[in-house]
Point group: C2
Chain length 320, copies 2
């Protein structure tokens, strides 16, 4: 089958890969649409030493499943963490943090930029008919955005600042706006402002960030500059949610974290079912984030385009 | 009056200082007993550029108060943050984080290692008769320990690790044990173990710290080594409470904080009334922490002794 292969931080389009033969408990999924995200770019810069098929955002169709499973033919999205179910972390009830987890297209298992992938049945979620493919493909990043409100109680009226209004930041903005908080987003580019304002979200420039002006700040840049801006913006006693990974260690003034009683919350993958519900109801609308759709054959060009300034979500369609 | 003076990071005993003349809304307090804490040592190492009388843990007696105040003659402890009441942080309801705050013996106002001090009436708390001076003097650090359970919900049965079993750590251990959690404390010295075990608290050595073995970790060392131990000990999805200030910035792997969804909580000063209640009921007993009592005249020798290994709380008594 065709797939986009990562090896030694280099991408290549391959046509010689075998269709996966699903292990027991796994389904074979034909990929209908997949999305390129910032983590994929970081993988090409060595964020994690991975050799294999890249990609973890997808919507697909179950074409093989064990024991005449009821999943056959279903349109699905899939959670990307494959837990062992047996380690201390799993048995304590935190499977997304499994010590031996594989992660779709990131660690130990092939990903979604391919004609087919395999995933455990327990990772799958059926997509409601009301959600078309090009919306369902946003389920994984939207779930990650919802992890914020899963972990943190954002109250109506609270002053919340979003630092980083790119692909994931836009979804986070829509999710946080649903809480009724007073949300503002720091924008660097006019296209970011336009999309946010379409959703009624107030934008400010970096120069308008007041010291200590926000109760909670969500950092989505994964850069030391973004972290420092977030640190400056949060009020004493406030909270910073860290939503993006950082390439290197960051020098942190922990004393000021103590004195100002700041809370830092690391946030990663989130719940799929609420994400599907928000997509089905239209309360979150990612369609405006789609910049382009490419056939999988043109995946290398798609990657190049996805890295251009102002480009948000680029989709890959194996069947196009 | 006599007082212990800090200037250019050097301590000196002075006899030439004027008794404070309390400003409007302030009381004049005769200091009965004061405690030396780790922050005082950090002040002598330049933690904060302060010139004046050191000391912020005390119990005293109101000897002058405005308008025939009902406070006259009362035995009191006092909150150390003096808020302006007018800045944005104060008016939003976070006076302990006042942007213009003075802090007793730490920032802008003279402290408690003196015969007399002045504090706003609103900072004072009357000490119940059942609490003798050498217990009441622990109110400020005990309140700081209680700030942890004020900020963080520690559930019965949760696995909690304390890193740092010195002066403040011992009080924190007693407070956290009251939650019914499964508390263990990392000890470095046999005297730490003995005091903790007197209070039924389990101790372990650093070598017994398992990676990811605790739901919550409280860091009280203020050292990069302590932080790294806490980071290693906390489970994915767990929490680290930072209770001590750090002299320098610390290199933090923020990506691992994101991926493991760790929460860091900075924690500083806490509520005095609950602290007094726990001292009055005997549910927290700091008496075992008293290593020595010196007259204020011997404050320099007291400081030297307080810095020796194995020494916990050293008290200064102006009237001795």
């Amino acid at each position: 089958m065709k797939a986009l292969w990562l090896e030694n931080q280099k991408l290549s389009l391959r046509h010689d890969l075998p269709v996966p033969e699903p292990r027991p408990g796994y389904a074979l999924v034909r990929v209908r649409l997949a999305g390129i995200c910032a983590t994929d770019f970081e993988m090409t810069r060595g964020y994690y030493p991975f050799t294999g098929i890249l990609g973890h955002e997808f919507v697909g169709e179950v074409v093989a499943a064990p024991d005449g499973s009821a999943w056959m033919g279903k349109r699905v999205v899939g959670e990307i963490n494959i837990a062992c179910g047996e380690c201390a972390t799993c048995t304590r009830g935190y499977p997304t943090h499994c010590e031996r987890r594989a992660v779709l297209g990131i660690r130990a298992v092939h990903g979604a930029f391919a004609e087919y992938l395999e995933l455990p049945l327990k990772n799958l979620h059926e997509v409601p008919d009301a959600v078309p493919d090009d919306i369902a493909v946003f389920c994984e990043p939207l779930a990650a955005a919802l992890e914020i409100t899963q972990q943190v109680h954002i109250q109506p009226g609270e002053r919340v600042l979003l630092v980083g209004a790119g692909r994931l930041g836009q979804l986070i903005a829509q999710v946080i706006a649903l809480t009724g908080c007073a949300l503002q987003a720091v924008i660097r580019h006019d296209y970011q402002r336009k999309i946010l304002e379409q959703h009624g979200i107030e934008t400010i420039s970096e120069g308008m960030v007041r010291t200590g002006g926000w109760d909670k700040v969500v950092e989505v840049t994964g850069s030391p500059g973004g972290f420092n801006l977030a640190r400056r913006a949060v009020r004493p006693g406030g909270m910073i949610v860290l939503k993006s990974t950082f390439k290197d260690d960051v020098q942190v003034n922990l004393s000021s974290i103590v004195v100002d009683e700041i809370t830092l919350v690391g946030s990663r993958c989130g719940p799929f079912e609420p994400a599907l519900a928000l997509l089905a109801s239209g309360q979150v609308d990612p369609s405006v984030l789609i910049s382009a759709r490419y056939p999988l054959d043109e995946a290398l060009e798609a990657f190049r385009y996805a890295g251009e300034p102002g480009v948000l979500k680029v989709l890959l369609a194996p069947a196009d």
